[in-house]
């Protein structure tokens, strides 16, 4: 087991390195000069001498391989550098923003599981009936509606028309817990909707499969009524694949929250990536992408290990 984990971790580390390298190179390949951008806002031309001086200060005049090596050396020593824009520490920014993004994702996962598992199970029990059709249709619709459409619609309904919730923004939980939760509701709900579709389909398929099993038939033969059978035998066993999928989806969601954070003005990490790319803030972009990729491969690793532990059929060496 340990050998398996060690091997998988090495592969994971290698993947992270590849991602960071590719992002670093891509950033330098696309046009747009951070120094020039910083100095030429407000439609005013940047003075070439000032741009040259700033490039020198940013270390952009070094050969690319040298920039890469010094950046990597920094990363290895745990220093992600400072923002080109205002010198803020990149790791400090990430520490502040990552929890906010994770919070949206976790809240979305809770909402999606809380609604998705019962709905999916119900659809399976009533397979091929009207309720099943309705739930499956809802799942398809939820899956195929773009996140920014959902976002704009819920803002229109709940903030602009009904005025129940703020349109977007952020307040620290410690400042005003209630307001914080109010602000969390719409973005988390929007992310949850996309996730909900996956959970419903997965639960439905999984419950259907378990219902065919021998032990369910045995339980029925023993005269157990349907409620306890579902609760005790079916759903519990059906949940394992659902949780696996949920784990994998969480990784995808870190990238998937970019638009949601933008639409709802939620100051998390992924939305911030957009503004960092816009400003060609190299240290910030590399730092954020690295954090997201570490999280992603780490989640995948955890899911694999948990699966390997749960299911002895998964070979530990060859997988």
């Amino acid at each position: 087991m340990l050998r398996y984990i060690a091997l998988r971790s090495l592969v994971a580390l290698f993947l992270v390195w590849v991602v960071v390298t590719v992002v670093f190179l891509l950033l330098h390949l696309i046009p747009g000069d951070p120094a020039e951008l910083l100095l030429s806002t407000g439609n005013i031309a940047a003075d070439p001498a000032a741009v040259a001086a700033l490039r020198e200060k940013m270390g952009l005049n070094e050969p690319l391989w040298q920039q890469y090596l010094s950046h990597m050396a920094g990363v290895l020593s745990g220093d992600l550098g400072a923002s080109f824009r205002d010198g803020a520490s990149v790791s400090g920014q990430i520490a502040q923003r990552l929890p906010r993004t994770l919070e949206v994702i976790l809240a979305a996962a809770l909402i999606a599981t809380g609604i998705g598992v019962p709905l999916g199970s119900y659809a399976a029990v009533r397979a091929d009936g009207k309720a099943d059709a309705a739930i499956s249709f809802f799942a398809s619709a939820a899956l195929s509606t773009p996140v920014f459409v959902v976002g704009s619609v819920v803002i229109l309904i709940f903030a602009q028309q009904l005025k129940w919730l703020p349109a977007g923004g952020f307040v620290d939980f410690s400042d005003d817990p209630l307001e914080h939760l109010k602000l969390l509701l719409l973005p988390a709900g929007t992310v949850a909707l996309a996730l909900l579709a996956v959970i419903i389909r997965m639960s439905r398929a999984s419950v259907l499969e378990v219902l065919q099993r021998d032990y369910v038939r045995t339980a029925r033969a023993k005269g157990l009524s349907r409620g306890p059978i579902l609760r005790r035998h079916v759903v519990r066993n059906a949940l394992i694949p659902v949780l696996t999928v949920l784990g994998l989806e969480m990784g995808t969601l870190i990238g998937g929250t970019v638009l949601v954070e933008f639409v709802f003005n939620w100051p998390g990490l992924s939305g911030y990536l957009v503004s960092a790319v816009d400003a060609r803030d190299y240290p910030e972009v590399v730092g954020i992408v690295m954090t997201i990729s570490v999280l992603f491969v780490f989640l995948n690793l955890v899911v694999d290990v948990v699966n390997a532990l749960l299911d002895p059929r998964i070979s530990l060496v060859t997988s």
Partner: protein
């Protein structure tokens, strides 16, 4: 081994980070009535006092800083840190300072002003007004309250420089991005990328101002959300009302819309190579485009045709005889092309950006009209950063641009049409018109308005002939606010981005 460390380190950092978000400093929440919430269009890229860092940064800077002068709600110059100012017959300017205090309680002195000017003048300062202030040859401080400025030649527009929001006075020795100033508000807290909260400065030199206890400037980068937030009552004022939402804000009884015509759209040319090195071709482009369609397509009818240099008709320097010199006249356009030797037209690229809808729509309309006179335009629509770089480097034939001049004085147009200045994306590339540069220089040395009018009239005449840029349309620039907001005003014309100066008068009725 490495993995374990990594995972542990990872868990430790995320754990710590998670804890951090819940253990943030306790901030007492202000009473709702004393706080004005202002929706910014972007988080300021920096708070550098003297750099041109955009509208949002400018708005935050004028909350905390003051210059020697500023503009009132009508756009007239008024004193700020300088109580009065004066120029003698030799063009020597004298500024008399009022009793004002920095946020830290120390007095604002002539020495601070002199230090600020010296810092901005440095060749590598990258300050917005570095070129202009470089013409100041000596700064004298006969006493704590007097500053005397001498320039290499007389400078009639010097007060305008010191009224610009990118020219605040800082306390001697301050860091350039320090928001510790002498303005009506002090920084209370900054949540990077999210919001900036400032509170009233009790020592502000204007009696009874500011009127609100606190301003919370919250960033809404998405324009639709900015309007949604205004409609939902999350914010009291928003900048940069998107054109498609202006009618919706104006018609809403709970809201007010305050717009001004000031910023403008125009075309720049790459004159370093044919065909746009020929003024006949540049003028042909001007006669080929129907401006009303740009106003309709890009600005939802919130624009007005611009067929001359961007001098508004309300300006004392407006020349009615040139008002329609670049009018829509396809026959004339074709004749000019033929005269230039391009009777069959030609192919070229037009640079704009897909990042801002108005820039893209403007380019698309121009493309359609130019095709009618045989000019086949290929659009190049990268995101804004790339567009800036290509504009500075001259990697284009034609380009769409939108801006506001530095101020309402015609001298403010130098950044747009003075080809003797360094290459820049706000100007045509490789297009020097010595006569225009000379007339700008001459206009700055004359103090008499009537005499200056003659100079700028001559300048516009030359520009109409040579087309250093091609005007397309004026655009309305708007602030939206809740109906109960009083005192905040959109400054007229090119000064619209200075409007933050009126936040000291703003209050919630």
């Amino acid at each position: 081994m490495t993995t374990r460390l990594n995972r542990r380190g990872f868990l430790a950092t995320t754990g710590a980070a998670g804890a951090l978000s819940f253990l943030g400093p306790k901030v007492l929440r202000a009473q709702e009535d004393g706080t004005l919430r202002f929706g910014l269009s972007t988080y300021p890229p920096s708070f550098d006092a003297w750099a041109s860092n955009g509208t949002a940064a400018g708005t935050v800077k004028v909350m905390c800083h003051r210059g020697l002068l500023s503009y009132d709600a009508e756009g007239a110059l008024r004193g700020e840190l300088a109580e009065s100012w004066d120029v003698d017959d030799d063009g020597v300017w004298t500024f008399n300072l009022r009793d004002a205090k920095w946020h830290d309680g120390s007095p604002v002195t002539a020495e601070d002003v002199a230090w600020t000017i010296t810092e901005v003048q440095k060749p590598d300062s990258a300050a917005y007004l570095q070129n202009q202030l470089a013409t100041i040859t000596s700064v004298e401080t006969p006493d704590d309250k007097t500053v005397v400025l001498m320039t290499s030649e007389p400078q009639a527009v010097l007060p305008e420089w010191f009224a610009n929001y990118n020219m605040p006075i800082l306390k001697k020795g301050s860091a350039r991005d320090d928001l510790m100033g002498a303005g009506p508000f002090k920084v209370e807290s900054i949540d990077r990328g999210v919001s900036i909260t400032v509170s009233a400065n009790p020592d502000y030199y204007k009696e009874g101002l500011p009127k609100v206890e606190r301003i919370e400037a919250i960033v809404y980068a998405d324009e639709n959300l900015r309007i949604a937030a205004l409609e939902a009552g999350d914010v009291d004022v928003v900048e940069y009302v998107p054109w498609q939402a202006m009618a919706q804000v104006g018609d809403n009884p709970a809201l007010k819309l305050d717009t001004t015509f000031g910023p403008f759209m125009y075309l720049t040319f790459n004159a370093s190579k044919p065909p746009f090195d020929n003024p006949l071709v540049r003028r042909a482009v001007g006669h080929a485009i129907k401006r009303e369609d740009i106003a309709a397509a890009a600005f939802y009818e919130r624009g007005a045709p611009l067929e001359h240099l961007p001098i508004p008709d309300a300006s004392a320097f407006f020349n009615p005889e040139f008002a329609n010199e670049w009018n829509y006249d396809p026959e004339k356009a074709k004749a000019l092309l033929a005269e230039a030797g391009y009777a069959d037209g030609f192919d070229c690229t037009m640079l704009s950006t897909a990042q801002y809808g108005m820039h893209q729509s403007t380019a698309e309309v121009c493309q359609a009209y130019l095709s009618m006179i045989g000019i086949n335009v290929t659009l190049d629509l990268p995101e804004w950063s790339t567009r800036v770089k290509k504009g500075n480097e001259g990697t284009y034939d034609l380009a769409v641009m939108g801006t506001a001049a530095a101020n309402n004085d015609p001298d403010g147009l130098a950044t747009v049409i003075d080809g003797s200045l360094a290459s820049a994306y706000s100007r045509s590339y490789g297009l020097e018109t010595p006569e225009i540069s000379e007339l700008f220089a001459k206009g700055r040395t004359i103090f008499d308005t009537e005499e200056r009018k003659a100079v700028y009239k001559e300048l516009e005449k030359v520009a109409i002939e040579t087309a250093p840029i091609m005007g397309l349309c004026w655009r309305e620039q708007g602030y939206g606010m809740a109906a109960n907001v009083e005192g905040f005003a959109n400054l007229p014309g090119q000064l619209t981005f200075h409007s933050g100066i009126t936040l000291e008068d703003a209050m919630l009725g």
